[in-house]
C-alpha cells in the first residue's frame, strides 16, 4: 500500500515536473499548480458524512439531513480554504546549498505572504523526509532552512521542492511543486590528521620551515562574517572604528598548498576527507591556503568564500577509475 502510494507520488511529481517546466524564482504559487486531495482524516470524515445523511434519510429527519449537508458543505469549504492557504504565496529558494557527508545541508527558503490573511502550517519539503512546518503572518516574510540529510559526498541535484498545507481542518492536503534546480554540494566528511603535516602540505614552498605560530602580523582588513572572532581587532573596535580583523602572513611569506597528489598513501575518498579537514583547520587558524586537485587548482583566496569554493570542488570531484 505504502509502496503504491510512493509510486503514485513519484509519477505525479515527474508529470508535474514536465507540466510546469523550470520555474523562475521567486515564484508566486498560482491556481493551476496547486493539487489537493483528502487526507486519511478527510476520508474518515467522508464516510461519516455519508452515514449522517443515511441516518437523516432513514429517520426521515429533515434537521438530521440539514446537519449532514452542513458537514458536507463545511468539508467542501475547508477544501477551498486549504487551497487558499497556498494560493498567492511567494517563494524564493537558495539554489546552492552546502553540506557534509553524514550531516545535512540547510536549504534556504524565503516565504513571502503579501496578503492580509495569515497562512498557517505551511510544510516545506525537499527530497524525502526533510521538511519544516511554518506559519507566515499576513504581510510578512519568513526565512527558513530545511535540513536535507546528506549521507554521501557528491553533488546532489534536487529538481523539485514541495510546499503543502493541511490547514484549516486537516481533512485536505493541498500541495504544489516548485521546480528549481537546487544544487547541494556535499563535501566529504572531514577525516585524518588535524593540521597539514609538513611532509604533505609543505610540498616544496614550505619545506624548510616546519614551525607553526611564528606568523607575522601583516595588517588589518575589513571584517566579514564567518571569520573566527579570535582574529578580530578588538582594540580598534574599542576605539569605535569599524570592525576589522588582523591578518597574518606566514613566516615563510607563502600560502600553504593542500594537494590531493601529496597524499599517496590514502584511498581517493580518504584523501578528500583529509583535504576537507585541512581546509577547515586552515580556515579556523586563519592560514591562507590553496587547493590542488587533479585537473583543478584553486589559488589562495579570501577566507570564507574561498573555503566554500574549495569544499564545493571537493564535493564535485570525480574519482578516476582505479585511483
Amino acid at each position: 500500500m505504502k509502496r503504491l502510494r510512493l509510486a503514485a507520488a513519484w509519477r505525479l511529481r515527474t508529470w508535474a515536473g514536465r507540466r510546469h517546466g523550470i520555474d523562475t524564482l521567486p515564484l508566486t504559487v498560482q491556481l493551476r499548480r496547486i493539487y489537493i486531495l483528502p487526507t486519511g482524516s478527510g476520508l474518515v470524515l467522508g464516510v461519516m458524512v455519508v452515514a449522517m445523511l443515511l441516518a437523516g434519510l432513514n429517520y426521515n429527519s429533515n434537521l438530521g439531513l440539514a446537519f449532514g449537508f452542513l458537514m458536507a458543505s463545511i468539508a467542501m469549504t475547508a477544501m477551498h480554504h486549504c487551497h487558499r492557504n497556498l494560493l498567492g504565496l511567494k517563494v524564493d529558494i537558495g539554489l546552492d546549498a552546502d553540506g557534509m557527508a553524514g550531516a545535512s545541508a540547510p536549504i534556504g527558503f524565503v516565504l513571502l505572504n503579501d496578503s492580509a490573511a495569515a497562512r498557517h502550517d505551511i510544510e516545506v519539503r525537499c527530497g524525502d523526509g526533510a521538511e519544516v512546518v511554518t506559519a507566515v503572518a499576513g504581510g510578512a516574510a519568513r526565512k527558513l532552512e530545511v535540513a536535507l540529510p546528506t549521507p554521501v559526498r557528491g553533488v546532489l541535484d534536487l529538481r523539485q521542492c514541495e510546499l503543502a498545507t493541511r490547514w484549516p481542518l486537516g481533512w485536505f492536503r493541498a500541495w504544489t511543486y516548485v521546480q528549481a534546480p537546487i544544487r547541494v554540494h556535499v563535501a566529504p566528511r572531514p577525516g585524518g590528521s588535524s593540521l597539514p603535516p609538513a611532509s604533505a602540505a609543505l610540498h616544496g614552498e614550505r619545506a624548510q620551515s616546519g614551525r607553526r605560530g611564528d606568523d607575522d602580523f601583516a595588517g588589518l582588513s575589513p571584517y566579514t562574517p564567518g571569520i573566527p572572532l579570535k582574529h578580530l581587532a578588538w582594540k580598534t573596535l574599542a576605539r569605535g572604528q569599524p570592525a576589522a580583523v588582523r591578518t597574518y602572513v606566514d613566516a615563510s611569506g607563502s600560502p600553504v598548498w593542500l594537494e590531493y597528489a601529496a597524499l599517496p598513501g590514502l584511498s581517493g575518498e580518504a584523501r578528500l576527507s583529509q583535504l576537507c579537514r585541512w581546509i577547515l583547520d586552515s580556515e579556523a587558524a586563519g592560514q591562507p591556503y590553496g587547493l590542488r586537485l587533479p585537473g583543478l587548482e584553486l589559488a589562495v583566496g579570501q577566507l570564507g568564500a574561498h573555503r566554500t569554493a574549495c569544499l564545493r570542488a571537493l564535493a564535485a570531484f570525480v574519482q578516476e577509475p582505479g585511483a
Partner: protein, 658 residues
C-alpha cells in the same frame, strides 16, 4: 507531517465540545454514560494540568471493555439512537482518556459532530439546531487550533476562521438540503425508542384522567382549514371510541384495533370541511379528525369500525395529514347487531341506582329521542356543577356522581350519560378527543391544545347511525359555543396567559406562528414540497436526473462564489489599508502640484517634496520614512503601528501655497 502536541488548552477545547454535545443528548442517555465520559475527561485533563501523559493502555482497555459490556447488557444492540448515542459518548470519553497525539483529538471532534447529529435525529426544535450549529462552530475551531507551526491562529483567530468557514458553508448546505431527493420509505427499520413521555389521550378513560390534561397548555395539533371553517359547535375532534365499560373505566374494545373491518372512503356529503391537521407526536395509532373523515392523504391509514382513522404505526413524529371530513354530529353506519350489543354492555350489578333511574325514565319516555332529551333536561335542571376538582367517588362511581356529589367534568358526565343510555337499552359509547381550538391571528391556522381535551357520547338511533350528544354541554349549554372548559379551567387556575389582549398571550401566539412556519417549511419538507418548490421555479416534473443536474449547477455556482471569496482573501496588498492610504496621500499631493514619479520610492519622494515645499518638509519626511519602514519591513500589515500610520497618512493635507 509531524503531529502537533497535545496541550492542556487543546484538551480543554475537546473536552468542552464533548460536554456541550453530550448535553444535547442528555435525555436519551442512561445517567451513568455522561457521568463516565465526564469522569474520563476530567481525569485526563487533570493529568494534563499536572504535566502527566495519558494513563496506561491496559487501564483504558479495561475501561473500554467494561463500558461496552455494560452497554450491551443494557441495550442488547447498538442499532437505534439511544444505544448508538451511548456508545459514541462512551467512546469519546475513553478516547479522551488515552489521548496522546492530536490525532486522538481529531477523533473526539468527529464524535462531537456525530453526537450533534444524534440529538437532531431525536428532536425537531429550532433552538436545538441553533445550539448544535454553535457546537459545530466550536468543534471546528478546535480542529483549527491543532496546528504544528508557531504562531498558530490562537483561539480568537480559530473562532473567527471557523465562523467564516461556517458562513461560507451555509449556502451550499442549503442548496443540497433543498435539492437532495427524499425517501418515502425508510431504508431499514430501527429500534424505535418509545420511552419518550407524551401527553395526550390514551385508549382508556378514567373520568379523572382528563382533568390532568386540561391543566396542560401543550399543543395537541394545529389545523389549517382550506375553505370553510366549521362553526364552534361542530368542532369535535374525534379520537378513540371507548365501548367497553368496567364499572369505572372506559376502554377501547379489542375488536376496534386497526385493520379490522376497514371501510373505503365514503362519497362526500355536505357539510364537508377540508383541512390539514399537523399532529404533535402522541405515540398512538389513531388520527384525530372532525366527526368522520371521508378522504385523507395518509398511506396505510384506514377507518376503524368505529369511524376513527387509524394506521399501523403510532404517531411518533410530527405528522401532517390533509383530509376531508363530514361534520354534522352524526356518524352514519349500517345497523350491525353485534356492535349494538357491544354498545349495551354493562358490568352486571354495578351502579344499581343509575340503572333504576334509567329504567324509570325510560318507562316515562319510550321514544329514544324523548328519553335522551329527558336525561339532558335532568342534567340541566338539577344542581349539577362543572368542576375540575370533583370529590373522590366510591365503588359505584356513576351512582355516587349522579346522586351524591353532582360535581364533575366532561369525563364524569359522558360516563354517567352513557351508562344511563345503556341501562335503558339504548346503544351508547364514549368518545374522547378535543373540542374547539383557538385561531392564531398571526397565522392562518387553529391551535388545539391538550387543555381542549374532551369526552362526549355517541348514541345509536335506528336508521340514523351514531348521533353525537355532549352531556357536559347540558350543564351550561351556552358554554359549549365558546370554549367552555377553557374559561372554566383557566379562571379556576388563575391562568391569564391565554386570555386575549394580554401582551404575553400575543407574544406566545406570534412565537407559535413562527413555530408553525418552521414546522411546515422545514420539518415537513418532503418530496411533494420539493416538487412544488421546483414547480414554482418553472422546473416541472423533476426527476432524479434533473435534480442531479440542479445539484451540479448549485455546487458549481457555490464553488465559483467560494473561489472568488477565497481569491479576495489572498489578493496582494493593494487592498491593504496602508497602501490605500499612501495612494490617497499621493493623489492629494498630486492635486497640490507635487505628483509622485512612477519610479520614485517613498523616501525619495519625501526629499523632493521637502525641497519644493520647505513648509511641509518635517511632516512629510517623518511620515514617509515611517511608511517605508513599515511597508518594507517584516511587521504585519495589520499591526497597530500600521493602522496608526494609515490614519496619519489619511489625515495629512498639503495646504495650497500662496
Amino acid at each position: 507531517m509531524s503531529d502537533g502536541t497535545v496541550t492542556v488548552q487543546r484538551l480543554g477545547w475537546a473536552v468542552g465540545c464533548l460536554v456541550l454535545a453530550t448535553a444535547a443528548n442528555l435525555e436519551a442517555l442512561p445517567v451513568w454514560v455522561p457521568v463516565a465520559a465526564l469522569l474520563a475527561g476530567s481525569v485526563r485533563l487533570a493529568l494534563a494540568v499536572l504535566g502527566r501523559g495519558a494513563p496506561p493502555k491496559t487501564l483504558t482497555l479495561l475501561a473500554a471493555v467494561a463500558a461496552i459490556a455494560t452497554l450491551l447488557l443494557r441495550f442488547h444492540t447498538f442499532n437505534g439512537i439511544t444505544a448508538g448515542t451511548s456508545l459514541l459518548c462512551l467512546m469519546a470519553g475513553l478516547k479522551l482518556l488515552e489521548t496522546q497525539r492530536t490525532r486522538d483529538i481529531r477523533v473526539i471532534v468527529m464524535i462531537v459532530y456525530f453526537l450533534a447529529l444524534a440529538a437532531l435525529l431525536r428532536s425537531e426544535s429550532f433552538w436545538l439546531l441553533a445550539y448544535l450549529i454553535g457546537v459545530c462552530w466550536l468543534a471546528t475551531a478546535t480542529l483549527m487550533q491543532l496546528t504544528v507551526a508557531e504562531p498558530g491562529p490562537g483561539w480568537r483567530g480559530a473562532l473567527r476562521a471557523s465562523a467564516r468557514l461556517l458562513l461560507h458553508a451555509l449556502p451550499l448546505a442549503l442548496f443540497l438540503w433543498l435539492l437532495f431527493p427524499r425517501l418515502t420509505e425508510p431504508l431499514w427499520s430501527v429500534a424505535e425508542d418509545s420511552g419518550a413521555a407524551t401527553t395526550g389521550l390514551s385508549d382508556t378513560m378514567d373520568p379523572g384522567d382528563i382533568s390532568k390534561l386540561v391543566l396542560s397548555d401543550d399543543i395537541a395539533f394545529r389545523v389549517h382549514f382550506t375553505g370553510a371553517v366549521p362553526p364552534p359547535r361542530q368542532r369535535y375532534w374525534r379520537g378513540p371510541v371507548l365501548e367497553e365499560f368496567t364499572g369505572r373505566i372506559w376502554r377501547r374494545s379489542e375488536r376496534a384495533r386497526p385493520g379490522s373491518d376497514a371501510q373505503a372512503p365514503l362519497p362526500v356529503t355536505a357539510p364537508a370541511y377540508t383541512y390539514t391537521i399537523g399532529l404533535e407526536p402522541y405515540q398512538q395509532h389513531w388520527i384525530y379528525a372532525l366527526d368522520r373523515a371521508v378522504r385523507w392523504d395518509l398511506p396505510h391509514a384506514r377507518l376503524s369500525d368505529t369511524g376513527v382513522l387509524e394506521r399501523s404505526d403510532p404517531v411518533s413524529q410530527p405528522l401532517d395529514v390533509t383530509m376531508t371530513s363530514v361534520a354534522g354530529g352524526v356518524i352514519p353506519e349500517a345497523p350491525d347487531r353485534n356492535r349494538q350489543r357491544r354498545a349495551l354492555q354493562l358490568p352486571p350489578g354495578s351502579n344499581p341506582r343509575t340503572a333504576a333511574l334509567a329504567q324509570r325514565l325510560r318507562a316515562q319516555h319510550p321514544e329514544a329521542r324523548d328519553f335522551v332529551a329527558a336525561v339532558l333536561g335532568m342534567l340541566h335542571t338539577e344542581a349539577f356543577f362543572y368542576t375540575l376538582t370533583p370529590p373522590r367517588l366510591g365503588d359505584n362511581p356513576v351512582d355516587d356522581f349522579l346522586f351524591d356529589s353532582k360535581r364533575g367534568f366532561c369525563g364524569h358526565y359522558a360516563s354517567a350519560f352513557a351508562v344511563i343510555m345503556r341501562a335503558a337499552g339504548i346503544p351508547a359509547r364514549v368518545v374522547t378527543g378535543y373540542l374547539g381550538g383557538n385561531e392564531n391571528p398571526y397565522g392562518d391556522y387553529w391551535i388545539v391544545r391538550q387543555s381542549d381535551a374532551h369526552a362526549w357520547v355517541e348514541v345509536w338511533f335506528e336508521g340514523g347511525g351514531w348521533l353525537r350528544i355532549d352531556p357536559t354541554a347540558a350543564i351550561a349549554s351556552a358554554r359549549v359555543e365558546t370554549q367552555q372548559r377553557d374559561d372554566g379551567a383557566t379562571a379556576m387556575l388563575g391562568v391569564t396567559l391565554r386570555g386575549r389582549g394580554s401582551w404575553l398571550a400575543d407574544l406566545a401566539l406570534r412565537v407559535d406562528a413562527l413555530r408553525q412556519i418552521w414546522r411546515e417549511r422545514i420539518l415537513q419538507f418532503d418530496q411533494s414540497a420539493q416538487q412544488s418548490l421546483l414547480e414554482r421555479l418553472d422546473i416541472p416534473a423533476p426527476d432524479a436526473g434533473k435534480l442531479a443536474l440542479l445539484v451540479g449547477i448549485a455546487i458549481s455556482l457555490v464553488f465559483g462564489w467560494l473561489s472568488w471569496q477565497v481569491r479576495r482573501d489572498v489578493s496582494p496588498a493593494s487592498r491593504d489599508a496602508l497602501v490605500r492610504a499612501y495612494a490617497g496621500l499621493c493623489r492629494r499631493l498630486a492635486g497640490a502640484g507635487l505628483p509622485r514619479a512612477v519610479h520614485e520610492g517613498a523616501e525619495d519622494y519625501a526629499e523632493r517634496i521637502a525641497r519644493a515645499r520647505p513648509d511641509l518638509a518635517a511632516g512629510i519626511r517623518g511620515l514617509l520614512r515611517r511608511y517605508s519602514d513599515l511597508r518594507y519591513g517584516a511587521a504585519a500589515t495589520d499591526s497597530p503601528a500600521a493602522r496608526a500610520l494609515a490614519r496619519d497618512l489619511q489625515a495629512f493635507r498639503a495646504p495650497q501655497q500662496r
